[in-house]
């Protein structure tokens, strides 16, 4: 097949052979990777700016504070919501019906989910681009309503965009729980109570207790598979997080609309510290709840799929996911260790001690995954296994980096530095989370695309190494600059922290190149026709995969009953 034919038609991909569930999954995944490209370009612009005007071959406009900080504001919105959320939601929208052997509650709702998140992300990005609305993702009160610096219209567009993302998120949550609690198929005879007990991991805990007391297990075959339990648990945090972000958005929106109407309300009517606590409680559920729980669940799933064996210490893993949920609700104070009016007891208990538990829960997930793999050796070093190991390395680096900074002594000199965003956040997301997600992409690829042949394994390998080295390298050099005093939400225009910033930019370029290679490989596999075909209505409306014909529960009278 010629290069041109490949580009147009792909290898053997046929979008018409996909059912509705496969198509809606792929739509979210495509949008996720397009947003990933945008976020990588934004990141590279900021990395280049930090190398200084004298070095960076980019237009002067990027060095202007309005422009620079509007990119910094859009960057995490596009990265976390536009890309990561979409990728995770897309994968779980497929996996929950696949693993529970039940149809997805509603394909329509799944389409609304990716559509709303895409539209919302685009709106928030546009607000930053067109009006330079730049309060950053932290939205520290009263900065988002500071109309001396920002346009009201820009703020309103931004907040409406974020609200759309949250509505899309609610759609995903509803779809997932409605599917899990649907008493059809294998769950026909299960009660809601049994599904709840399994979803929260209580059965795992009872099994452990019974084992210690020498009694038979509470449940030999838990109602829900372990990865579904992780999705169930992580989605609780996704919901709480969406409620908090939406609440903050409404508050900001009310102030901005009032300002537009000529009413200049007192910004000090809202206590900045209380707001910060509340907002960080919600935001932290993304990082310490949603990500860690979803990731643990994904590791367990990938380890079992790759090895074809049962998970090592499954009951402990189930119980640990419950612990992780509780821990994730109580750790937000580690973001406020440098806030002097924050009560010391909250810093000590929530900020330090409970946060340290994440070392335990994530360490446990790492251990269980590694032992499951180890017991199944020899294993073929497939792309999915490589990426899984890369994901383990990412969290192996990033979680201890986070625990180190969640300390009253070290936080005094690390807070708001590049250490936080480089060594901790970027390594966690780019290396830990994304490599786990790439592993899932490679595992699910034949299932979701009906055995489409990948264009090039060499390109897949190149993508892997560039992403791994670029991700770790960029995070490491940013972290080193942080230790040298470089701040994270600050503009440096004279290359004050070179050569570290030059090295970080080189590694960032590797990441961008990795994405371009991955995209090229995928486009050459599915073809441009196939890519367009993914967004065309599905001829086969089946909302499930691997089970006999099912009615979509929303249209099923038995389900409604």
């Amino acid at each position: 097949m010629s290069w041109k034919e490949n580009l147009v038609s792909g290898t053997n991909f046929d979008p018409d052979s996909l059912n509705a569930l496969q198509k809606v999954t792929l739509r979210a995944v495509v949008m996720a990777f397009l947003f990933y490209g945008l976020v990588a370009i934004e990141g590279m612009i900021m990395r280049m700016v930090e190398t200084g005007k004298e070095v960076a071959p980019i237009p002067e406009m990027f060095f202007h504070p309005d422009h620079f900080f509007s990119i910094m504001t859009a960057h995490p919105i596009v990265g976390i919501f536009g890309s990561t959320y979409q990728l995770v939601f897309g994968a779980f929208t497929f996996l929950v019906p696949y693993l529970t052997k039940k149809p997805l509650y509603s394909i329509k709702l799944a389409n609304w989910t990716w559509g709303l998140i895409t539209a919302g992300t685009a709106m928030a990005w546009f607000a930053a681009f067109a009006w330079h609305y730049a309060p950053l993702y932290t939205l520290y009160w009263p900065l988002p309503v500071d109309t001396r610096q920002f346009s009201e219209v820009g703020g309103i567009v931004f907040i409406v965009g974020v609200a759309l993302i949250m509505f899309g998120t609610f759609g995903f949550i509803y779809n997932i729980y409605a599917t899990i609690f649907a008493r059809v198929g294998v769950h026909k005879d299960k009660t809601t109570k049994e599904l709840l007990i399994s979803g929260f991991g209580v059965d795992g805990m009872l099994n452990l207790m019974n084992k210690l007391r020498g009694k038979p297990p509470y449940s030999k075959e838990p109602a829900l598979a372990l990865p579904v339990v992780a999705i169930f648990r992580g989605t609780v945090d996704t919901f709480l997080d969406a409620v908090v972000i939406l609440g903050a958005g409404i508050l900001v929106l009310i102030y901005l609309i009032a300002d537009l109407g000529g009413l200049h309300w007192d910004m000090n009517a809202i206590d900045a510290l209380l707001y910060k606590n509340w907002f960080w409680w919600g935001l932290d559920l993304v990082a310490d709840g949603l990500v860690l729980i979803y990731v643990a669940g994904s590791w367990y799933l990938l380890a079992t799929l790759i090895t074809g064996q049962k998970l090592f210490m499954e009951n402990v893993a189930r119980a640990a996911l419950m612990l992780e949920l509780l821990v994730s609700w109580m750790v937000w104070s580690h973001h406020l260790l440098s806030d002097q009016p924050q009560p010391e007891m909250m810093k000590l208990i929530s900020g330090e001690m409970v946060t340290a538990f994440e070392l335990l829960t994530q360490g446990l997930a790492l251990f269980i995954t590694l032992v499951t793999l180890w017991k199944a050796r020899p294993l073929k070093m497939t792309m999915e296994l490589k990426y899984l190991l890369g994901g383990l390395v990412g969290f192996g680096l990033a979680v201890p980096a986070g625990i180190i900074q969640a300390d009253m002594g070290l936080n005094r000199v690390l807070h708001n530095t590049q250490w936080i965003i480089g060594a901790h956040v970027h390594i966690a997301i780019i290396v830990g989370l994304y490599m786990t997600l790439y592993s899932a992409v490679y595992v699910l690829w034949p299932i979701v695309t009906n055995n489409t042949k990948l264009y090039s394994h060499k390109l897949s390998n190149l993508h892997f190494w560039l992403h791994l080295i670029g991700g770790i390298g960029m995070g490491a050099f940013m972290g080193m600059a942080g230790l040298d005093g470089m701040l994270r939400r600050h503009l440096y225009v004279h290359g004050e922290f070179n050569p570290l910033m030059i090295f970080a930019a080189i590694c960032g370029t590797m990441l961008l190149a990795a994405w371009a290679i991955f995209l090229y490989n995928i486009v050459m596999s599915v073809g441009i026709k196939g890519l367009v075909g993914i967004f065309m209505p599905a001829k086969d409306p089946t909302p499930s995969y691997g089970i006999d014909e099912e009615l979509e529960p929303a249209d099923d009278p038995a389900f409604a009953k």
Partner: protein, 197 residues
């Protein structure tokens, strides 16, 4: 073991974390290599599950116990309401402008200084930096609250001040220069070389 300033702490941290980073990467690489080998590798060490869990607990809790004892500003921070500082400086910030006492502030070696910073509008940061840009210390400045920090200076130095928290693009001029940056904000004098009085 006690760190007398942030430079010592950050150097120590750099070394320890770098060793750890290479260790974890090597372990997973070794692990990955052996996963694919037909002849089964013998475990170098057998890690008992509960031993591993105990190790994680000790690391998590021990880290804080270590820093509490080795980093002097932790206990000083927690107990600051019972400490009488050698000098207190009240600083205000509003609309990206500091209202500062007469500069430079001159501090004698070993003195404990209280900085009390209040903001009238936005959330800012208060951070001191050496001439090589390394950080001495920082805190957040929440509007409508008293933000106080006590700091004992054990080394001579000439420190600059800037806001360590983003408070909007108006912190900078059009060229990207930081308008809240205060050169030679304070000087510490009277210490011997190496940081002793």
């Amino acid at each position: 073991m006690t760190f007398s300033n942030s430079l010592e702490l950050l150097s120590f941290h750099w070394v320890v974390y770098t060793i750890y980073a290479f260790m974890i990467i090597s372990i997973v690489a070794w692990f990955g290599y052996n996963l694919g080998r037909k002849e089964k590798a013998k475990s170098i060490v057998r890690i008992p599950f509960y031993g591993y869990m105990a190790f994680l607990v000790i690391m998590g809790v021990g880290h804080h116990i270590f820093t509490y004892n080795a980093i002097p500003w932790v206990s000083q921070d927690i107990m600051r309401h019972n400490i009488k500082p050698d000098a207190r400086y009240n600083i205000e910030v509003d609309n990206h402008k500091w209202r500062l006492p007469k500069l430079p502030i001159v501090v004698q070696c070993g003195q404990t200084i209280a900085f009390d910073v209040t903001s009238d509008d936005l959330t800012y940061g208060f951070g001191l930096f050496r001439q090589d840009r390394t950080m001495v210390m920082q805190m957040q400045v929440d509007p409508g609250h008293n933000n106080d920090i006590y700091w004992t200076f054990n080394h001579n130095g000439d420190f600059d001040l800037t806001s360590t928290e983003y408070s909007g693009p108006k912190q900078y001029d059009e060229e990207g220069n930081d308008l809240m940056f205060v050169k030679h904000f304070m000087k510490v004098v009277g210490c011997e070389k190496g940081g002793k009085q």
